[in-house]
Symmetry: D2
Subunit: 364 residues, 4 copies
C-alpha cells in the first residue's frame, strides 16, 4: 500500500536545490518516488517573474541527474511571490511503500499532465474541459473515487505572451485576450472552473466562455491555480484522503470567506485532531476582493499602481495564516479567480492526524 | 472630570474629511475637544508619500474653519501605507466632560509639541532628549504620574531632505546622514529612544549617538514613531490610564516578539475584559526583522528592490492582526526602529473595558 | 491685441506654489490673466497618484486668494510622473495686452470646460463628442479659425472609480469598464479622438464606440490627454498660432513615429527659426508601443509587473527629448492612446520665434 | 594576427540562448573564440534580480556543451535592467584569425579573472587593488601596452548578502556594510577606482577606504562595473585599440557630464569616422546625480521609494542615447559610482571605422 510523504525544504534562492539534493543523498527522499514539487519562489508572481522558470530549470537538472527522462513526469509547480514574511521553500510530495501498520485512509497524491493548450482555448471552455479531464485522471492516479475526498487540486497552467497571441492570430485564431497579465487571470479562472467541474462543485451547463472571469459566484472550494510562462499544457496534482493509501498524514480543507477569515482554517486543523504548529503544512490562495471591500471596509489594493494587488493580497493573507500556524513556511499563491469566493479562497492543511479521519471533509 | 472619546472614521481618499465634517456638523464631535487625529493614508509610507501632507492640509483647513488658530494645537499624525487589506481611516481623539457615573481610571490622552529640531540633531541624542522632554509634558497633560500607566506614545517626527542637509551644511553643521530614506529611520529610532527614556524603560547612560539605529537591543515597548516631511519638530501624543479621567474606554498594550506573534495581543484584549471585535482599536508597529529571519525561517523583505521592506511588513503584520480582531480598520505603521524588539513591535488596544482595570499594565 | 506669455516655474513638491506666488507678488504675472496652468508633479501618474490633486488644491487656494470664484475658470492640468530626470514644474499660460509692435501671428491660447460626463459615456462616443464640442469652443476663444493653426490640445479628462461605476450601475447604466486603470486609458483615448474630430484629422463616420482604444490606426497628431480622479468633466486648452494675437512666442508641432524618433522635433524647432535650448518649452506624449517593439526590437515595458509601462515610457521619451533640448523641465505625459501613432506621439514646442511664421504648420 | 568580432544577438527571455546557439550552429561564431559575453537582461538590476543568474546558467550550459570546462574562462557579464525601451540582448566578443589585409590598429579584447574576494575587502582598498591587478593582466592579454588605448573596462563584481556578512563576522572580520543594496554600490565603486588606478587616471596615494563611495570627485572615464550575486571574485574585460590586432572594428569613448550630455557621444562616433546608426554598439553607465540636480534643475529619482533610482536613470539615459543612435539594443548599466562624474558616466562606442584611427583616444 502506498504512503505519502511531504518534505518541506527551505531554499536560499530560486535555483537553490541543495536541500533537496542533500535529502536525496542522505536517503531521506527516494528520487523515483517524487510525484510533485511545489515551491514558493521569491519573484513578483506576475508576468516578468523569472524566479519560477529559474527554479524549474534547477529542479529539472537535479531530477534528470537521478531519473533521466522520467524526471519530466514530476509536476513542478512554482508559485512566485513570498511577500510579507513568507519564506521561500519547496514542498516535495513523495510516494513510498507504507508500513504495515499505517493508518488508513491517509493522504493520497495523484497527478496528471494535459496536452499543450491551443492559445485560443485559454480562458475558455476548451481549457475548462481539458483541466477537468486531467483532474479526473489525477484522482484515479490517487486512488480517490469520491470527489468529496479531494481536498486540494493544484494546477499549473499556461499564459499568453505577445508571441503566442501572434502565433494564434497567424493561424486565423482569436485569443480571449492579448494582454499577458490578463491572460494569467483567465487561465487560472478557467482552470479553477475545470476543477470545480471535475469535483462536481459546478455543473457543466452552468459554465460558459462568458462566465469565465466574469461570474465570480461560480467557484471551487478546493482549487489552486498558478499560471506560468514555462509551460503550454497543465500540470495537475490532486491531494485528498484515500483508503488505498496509509500513513500518518491527513489533509483537510477550509474556505476563507474573505482575506481575514481564519476561523475555518483553525476549524479544519481541529477536525484533523491537531493543533496549529510548526509542522502544519498550509496551501492557500489569496486575492484582493473585486468589491474593493473587506467586511464592508475599503481596501486600496486594486487602486495601487505601484504594487500589484496580487502581491498585496499574498502578503496580507500570509500574515493572517502565519498568525494562526505560527510559522512562515506557508504556500500562499495569488490570483484566486473562481478559487473560493471573491476576496477569499480555499486553504488546505496537511498534518499528522490525531483524529479518526475516516472521512475528513468539511461542509462548505 | 475629563473623558476620552475615540472616533474611528473611514476615508475615501487622503484629503477626505467629509466624515469628520459630518460628525462635527451632527454634534457627534465637538471640534474644540479634539486633541489629536491619527490617520492611515494610502501612500507608500516612504519618502515620496504625499498622501500624508495632503491629508494634513485638508484636516487643517477643516479644523481652522472651526477653531481658527487653535487648530494648530491639534496633533495630526498621518501614517502612510495601507498595504494588504488595511483600510484608510482617521482616529479622532476627543476630550469631553465625563458623565458623573463614569468608570475611573479610564483612557487618558495628553499631547505636546516640541520646537523645531536642528537638522544636525536628527538621529542623535539631541533628538532623544527633545522627545523625552516632550513625552513628560504630554504625560503631565494627560494626568498620568506613573510611567507604568502609559500604554502608547505616538510621535510624529521630521526627516532630512537634500535641502535640509544643505541648509545645515551651509551653517557648518554635519547631519547624521544625507540619505533621506535613512534619515526617516534615524528620526524614528531617536524618537523611540526618547520615549523609552521618558518612560524609564532605558536609563540615559545606556544611550548614545552611536547606539541609535545600531544597538537594537535597546527598545521601548510602548513607542510608535512616524516620520514625515511635513514638520520640523515633533508632535507627541501619550495614551494611558489615569484616575483623573473617567469613561468607558480603556487601553492596554502588548509587545509582539516577531511579526506573527499575535498571542500577546489576544492576551492584552483579554486583560481589558473584552473580546476582539469590530470595535477594537488597534495601534501597532511593523518592520522586517534585520536578522532576515522570522522564527528561524528566511524572509525576503530586505532583499526586495521592488517593494520597500516597510510596505511588506505593514501588509504582513496587518494581516496577522486583522486575523485576530476581525476587521481591517487598524493602524499599523512601519519603521519600528527601537520600537519593540527586532522584527516585532508594540501594539496598543483600546476598547470598552468590561474588566476592573484599576491598573491595566502588562509585565513585559 | 492679446499676447500670450508662458512662465515655466520649478516646484519643490506637489503643493509648492511659492514660485507662482512670488511671480504674482512681483508683478511678473497678473493673476487675472492666467488662463491655464499645466504641471508635472512627482506622483506615479497612475490611479493612486495624489500628487495631482494635492497640486490642484494648493493652486486653487492661491488663485482664489487673488481671484475669488473666478479662480475656478483657470484650467489646471497636472500630469503625474516625473520619471527619469524630468523636473517638476508649472507652465503658467497668461494672456496680457500686447505691445503695439509685437509680431503677429503669434502663440494663442484658448480654453473651455465641458459639463460633468456621465460615467457611462466615458470611453465612448458620448465622450468623443463632448470633447470635440469643447475643443471648438476653445479654438474660438483663442481666435483660431482654421484647425491647421492648432498645434496642441491639452485635455484633462475624468476616470472611473469603483464608486463611480457603482453609482452608474445603480442608475441602470453600464460603464465601458469597471477597471479603474483601464478607464484612464479609455478616457484619454476618447478625448484624443474628440480632438481629432474637432481638428478634422478624422471624420466622424470613421469613429465608433468599438474603435476607442481598439483601432489605433486612428489618431490625432496634436492631442495630449491626461486623466485624473479630481474632475468629472473636461478641461480643454488649445494652443496654436493666430493673427488675432501678437508677441514673441510661436508654437509648432511634430509627431514622433516611435519613442526615439527625435528628428521631427529638431525639425519643428528649426521651422520656428530657433535652436533647441534652455528656453524651449516641450509638451509631449509618451507610451509603450503595443506591438512590443521599437524599430523591430523588443521592449519589455508591457511585461513589467513592477513598474507601469507608462512610467517606463515617460522616463525613456523624456530622456530622448531632454537630449535634444538640453534641459529637463519638459512636460512629457503618459498614456498616448490615439495620440500619435502606436508607440509614438505628438510633441509641441514653444519658443521665441526667429522665423517668419505666418503659417507654422508641419505636414504630417 | 587576431581580429575581434562583436555579435549583437537579441534575446526573448533571460535564459534565451537560442540565438547564440544558432550562430554557433551556422558557423557564424566559433565557440572556442568567445572571450566574453555581455548581456542586458530584463530584471530590476538590483538585489533580487534573478534574471542575471538565470542568463548565466543558460549560457554556461550552452558553452559547456561546446567547450567543456574551458567554458568557465568566458567572462559572462549580465547587466540587469532594460528599463524604458532598452531591448534585451547579448554582446558576444569573439577573437578570430584576421584577414591578411585587415586594418590595424583595431579593436582588441582582453580578459582576466580575479580570485574570490574576502567579504571584508569589498568596498575597500583590498578590492581596489585586486581589480587594478586584474585590469593590468587583461590589458596584457589584449596586447595593449599604453593605458591611453583602453576605451572601456567592464568589471563584474560581487556583492554582500546577509549570509556573506554573517560568514565574515563569524571569522571576526568586519564588512564595510551589512546592507545588501549598499554593498552593490560599494563594490562597483571600489572596482571603478581599481580601473582608474590601473589606467593611471588616479594615483594610488589619492585613494583610501574612506574615499570609496564618498569622494565622487575621483572617477574613471572608462570604467563600467556591475555587481551581481552570482560570483565572488571579479570578471574583467578590457576593450581598446591595439596594433597587435587588425580588423574593421574600432572603439572610442566619451564621458557624459550629466544624464543628458549626448554631444560627446556624437563626437566620439564622429572621431571613428562613422555616423550613428543601427550597427553602432553602445556601452554606457547611468546613475542619478547625487546632487539631486541635472543642469540646475531638480530630479526626483533619489526620493522615489517606489522605483529604485538606478531604474529611473537607466531608462532616462537609454532614451537620450537611443535618440542619438536610433536603436534600442544598447547596453546601459546602472550604478555608476566613480564611473564618470556625478550623474554622468562613461560611454564607449564600437563601429566599423571609416577613419584613420591610428590613435583613437579622446582627451578628457
Amino acid at each position: 500500500m502506498p504512503t505519502a510523504k511531504v518534505h518541506r525544504i527551505p531554499t536560499a534562492s530560486p535555483d537553490d536545490v541543495s536541500g533537496l539534493a542533500a535529502a536525496i543523498a542522505s536517503g531521506a527522499i527516494a528520487p523515483e518516488g517524487i510525484l510533485a514539487i511545489f515551491g514558493k519562489t521569491e519573484g513578483n508572481g506576475c508576468v516578468n517573474d523569472f524566479s519560477r522558470g529559474f527554479a524549474v530549470a534547477a529542479l529539472q537538472a537535479l531530477l534528470r541527474s537521478h531519473l533521466g527522462d522520467a524526471a519530466d513526469e514530476v509536476c513542478l509547480v512554482m508559485s512566485g511571490g513570498t511577500e510579507g514574511g513568507m519564506s521561500p521553500h519547496l514542498l516535495v510530495f513523495e510516494v513510498a511503500e507504507a508500513d504495515a501498520n499505517g493508518a488508513s485512509p491517509a493522504l493520497a497524491v495523484g497527478r496528471a499532465h494535459t496536452p499543450d493548450l491551443p492559445s485560443e482555448h485559454l480562458g475558455r471552455m476548451g481549457q475548462v474541459r481539458s483541466v477537468a479531464e486531467g483532474v479526473r485522471r489525477a484522482m484515479e492516479a490517487a486512488g480517490i473515487t469520491d470527489a468529496v475526498d479531494v481536498h486540494f487540486v493544484q494546477v499549473k497552467c499556461p499564459l499568453l505572451t505577445a508571441a503566442r497571441v501572434r502565433e494564434a492570430e497567424a493561424r486565423g485564431a482569436t485569443t480571449a485576450t492579448s494582454d499577458t497579465l490578463k491572460s494569467m487571470g483567465l487561465s487560472r479562472g478557467a482552470s479553477a472552473l475545470g476543477i470545480a467541474l471535475a469535483l462536481g462543485e459546478i455543473a457543466e451547463d452552468a459554465l460558459s466562455d462568458a462566465a469565465i472571469c466574469a461570474d465570480y459566484g461560480l467557484w471551487s472550494g478546493r482549487a489552486s491555480c498558478s499560471s506560468g510562462i514555462e509551460l503550454l499544457g497543465h500540470e495537475i496534482v490532486v491531494l485528498g484522503m484515500s483508503k488505498s493509501w496509509s500513513g500518518p498524514l491527513a489533509i483537510a480543507h477550509a474556505v476563507m470567506a474573505d482575506a481575514i477569515d481564519v476561523a475555518p482554517v483553525r476549524e479544519a486543523i481541529g477536525k484533523l485532531g491537531g493543533a496549529p504548529g510548526e509542522d502544519t503544512i498550509v496551501l492557500a490562495k489569496a486575492e484582493a476582493s473585486r468589491s474593493g471591500l473587506i467586511r464592508g471596509k475599503r481596501h486600496t489594493m486594486l487602486d495601487d499602481s505601484d504594487i500589484s494587488s496580487t502581491r498585496h493580497a499574498r502578503a496580507f493573507v500570509a500574515g493572517a495564516l502565519a498568525g494562526v500556524v505560527g510559522h512562515t513556511e506557508i504556500y500562499v499563491s495569488g490570483g484566486a479567480e473562481h478559487q473560493g469566493p471573491d476576496g477569499g479562497g480555499p486553504v488546505a492543511v496537511i498534518l499528522q492526524s490525531l483524529a479518526d479521519c475516516a472521512r475528513v471533509s468539511l461542509p462548505e
